[in-house]
């Protein structure tokens, strides 16, 4: 089925075709994932040092530079793979571009100074966690104004008791490597543009948190059993799962308009995904499987974009109508969606066919989702032709998108189904 899975050809992580290999779970995908992660790490280090190059004129940057260099390689890597660092560097790059174009130059300068402080804060938090674990008290801790903070990657929480003594505890995790974040400032923030973080933020009980972790663990376990290479994608490209509760079951119909589920990924926070109301019993493990896979696929694509180049430049006013959801989505999201629905289809079909003893309700759910994935591919139009982009995407990416659509049409066109029957 996969002509690209040729072990004799060296893996080239800059080639967009490697994304199709990962989607097809080819035998080479562990090797590709490994190389891609290294490229992403190096790219983030290069971006960080590009930002730190201005340290002679900025005291916060000077401190950030010294603190970063004092970290061991493992802790440097933890900073580099954090979504927080990537977000800050993207903001910096955008503010620097505004300063360059002399658009709101004064405001851009202020933004840059504030971003430098955030950069120092991120690196200092990693150092402070090390210090607390080693029993040292440092300048950062003495001057930290809150009584709690998190490691940049989100897996450790530092808290101080009434006596002022600091301690570190591990945040709940999934598969032992992905933190499930209910409480950090990133998880509790309000974002107007976000489908998840624009919703009410209700406190979750310990019991509800445990339910969420158990459910996600079960989902990951089933993904591992169905397509092991997909479990590898999730474990390697997702570091943080933010979970928001916007509806409490005790509210009944009073909060019915908030009783909905959702998941999302945002490009400026690669490595993080967001889930909404996962604590509710009505959200099945099968739905969690899909959400995890959907958002993790975004993350492996984002890692490739960070390591190489963006698939397409977005003008937020030009959005494509998704053939799957009918929603208006940015061009980059549309390109991601082609991979996302292909991968989710492959996972859920594999899961459906893995057993003859699925519950009827589960079977109906899976078939309904598969039908939705398929319908988006079975349109007459070529998927990459739907893009509304000022600049054409690369011919290699165009070809990959077409191949994905052709593969799906090859499986599900009426003639193909009849031939199969």
């Amino acid at each position: 089925m996969n002509a690209l899975a040729d072990d004799s050809v060296a893996v080239d992580p800059t080639d967009v075709q490697c994304l199709l290999e990962i989607a097809n779970a080819s035998p080479r995908s562990p090797d590709i994932i490994d190389k891609l992660l290294w490229c992403r790490l190096l790219s983030m280090r290069w971006r960080l040092f590009e930002a730190l190059a201005e340290r002679n004129t900025d005291s916060a940057l000077g401190a950030a530079y010294r603190t970063y260099n004092a970290l061991s390689p493992v802790h440097q890597a933890r900073v580099l793979i954090s979504s927080e660092l990537c977000e800050v560097l993207m903001c910096l790059s955008s503010a620097a571009a505004r300063r360059e174009r002399a658009v709101d130059k004064g405001e851009a300068e202020n933004d840059i100074a504030s971003i430098h402080t955030r950069l120092l804060d991120i690196i200092s938090r990693e150092q402070a966690i090390i210090d607390i674990e080693a029993g040292r008290r440092t300048y950062f801790l003495s001057n930290h104004t809150t009584r709690v903070f998190f490691s940049p990657v989100g897996d450790k929480q530092a808290i101080t008791d009434a006596s002022g003594a600091w301690s570190v505890r591990n945040v709940p995790s999934l598969g032992g490597v992905i933190c499930v974040d209910f409480d950090s400032p990133v998880a509790t923030a309000y974002e107007a543009r976000s489908g998840v973080l624009s919703q009410y933020c209700l406190l979750m009980s310990d019991e509800e948190k445990a339910t969420v972790v158990d459910k996600l663990d079960a989902a990951l376990e089933r993904i591992d059993a169905t397509v092991p290479a997909y479990g590898l994608i999730i474990r390697n490209f997702v570091r943080r799962i933010i979970v928001r509760k916007s509806y409490d079951a005790s509210e009944g119909d009073a909060g019915a308009e908030r009783r909905h589920f959702g998941s999302e990924y945002v490009p400026r926070q690669p490595g993080s995904i967001r889930l909404l109301n996962t604590h509710l019993d009505s959200l099945s493990v099968e739905s969690c499987m899909e959400s995890l896979m959907h958002e993790s696929t975004h993350n492996y694509l984002a890692a490739w974009e960070l390591a190489n180049e963006m698939f397409v430049l977005n003008d937020p006013r030009n959005r494509v109508t998704s053939p799957w959801s009918g929603n208006q989505i940015p061009n980059s999201s549309f390109i991601h969606a082609v991979f996302v629905y292909y991968v989710c289809h492959r996972l859920l079909r594999g899961y459906l066919e893995s057993s003859n003893s699925h519950d009827e309700r589960v079977k109906a759910h899976l078939e309904g989702r598969l039908a939705n994935f398929m319908a988006g591919f079975l349109i007459r139009q070529r998927l990459p032709d739907l893009l509304l982009a000022e600049c054409a995407i690369s011919p290699a990416l165009f070809t990959v998108l077409l191949r994905i659509q052709e593969t799906m049409k090859g499986i599900y066109s009426r003639d193909a189904i009849e031939a199969g029957a």
Partner: protein, 282 residues
């Protein structure tokens, strides 16, 4: 003979063609309802096309007026089986692929090139033809405030509402709050133009008549035929005081044009779709 595949009895083009003297072969989608088979996954939906019908379409030009299945027995059947209407389009595509030429693209709104929302229409027209002017607009993401700087008189609209420019009557509550879309309220005189085949475009002023740039109209119409894959359709412009045109919307429905007294006569001059330059041969 050109086949007209349609779904709405009140479709203005179908009405005009039936009243005319041209030779057209009409096929309502509900004639296929007994041929639809809802099946378990993975087939979902099948259509058993009789040989005679396949022959009626194969190698013939087809006018595809399946813009909506609202009110059809086909939609009732699909809804009863909880099958999305996209499947009907998908299964009809193989039939339409055998046509020699197609007027209008296939698929649901937003996917069919003939049924694009306003922002996409403007993008496509500008990309196809630099000379076409479009309105200024803003489009926010999620619940964020829209940035209406540069809009003299912002007017909130639905991206799907093509011809409501005095007062927006089709703004859904969800659109009013999320992904807010604002357009500079049009200035100038509205001008409706309609076209069918290679005839010169017709036009009408719904309010007051004013001089306008006819050459610019022809250029915009030619671009629209290509961009929206429609050999027939209507367009809304606003004529500026200097006679220049600002393109506001395209629609294949022809609801506004049909109110023009000369519409039926104009349509009778249409021969049906010729092979489209951007469409691959069947």
């Amino acid at each position: 003979m050109t086949v007209v595949l349609y779904s709405q009895e009140a479709d203005p083009l179908v009405t005009a063609l039936k009243a005319g003297e041209g030779e057209w072969s009409f096929l309502h989608v509900d004639e296929l309802v007994d041929r639809l088979r809802v099946k378990p996954w993975p087939t979902i939906l099948d259509i058993i096309i009789p040989g005679a019908l396949s022959e009626r379409i194969r190698g013939m030009p087809v006018v595809n007026r399946l813009f909506s299945f609202e009110g059809t027995a086909c939609l009732d059947k699909l809804a009863g089986a909880r099958v999305n209407e996209r499947w009907l389009h998908a299964r009809l595509d193989s039939l339409l692929a055998s046509a020699s030429a197609l007027a209008h693209d296939t698929g649901v709104r937003g996917i069919s090139r003939s049924l694009l929302p306003l922002n996409a229409q403007w993008f496509c027209m500008r990309t196809a033809q630099d000379a076409v002017s479009i309105p200024r607009f803003s489009y926010a993401t999620g619940f964020e405030e829209s940035n209406n700087e540069g809009l003299g008189d912002p007017m909130q609209k639905s991206i799907w509402s093509l011809f409501d420019w005095k007062t927006e009557r089709h703004l859904l509550p969800s659109e009013a709050r999320r992904h807010r879309f604002f357009v500079d309220r049009p200035r100038g005189m509205p001008l409706i133009s309609f076209f069918a085949g290679k005839q010169s475009p017709g036009w009408v002023f719904p309010r007051e008549t004013t001089p306008f740039d006819h050459h610019a109209l022809n250029i915009a119409v030619q671009a629209a035929r290509r961009v929206f894959m429609s050999d027939v359709g209507e367009m809304l412009f606003y004529v500026q005081p200097d006679g220049s045109l600002v393109f506001h919307a395209f629609s294949p429905h022809l609801l506004s044009a049909a109110k023009t007294p000369g519409f039926s006569a104009y349509i009778s001059g249409w021969q049906g779709p010729a092979p489209h330059p951007t469409r691959e041969p069947a």
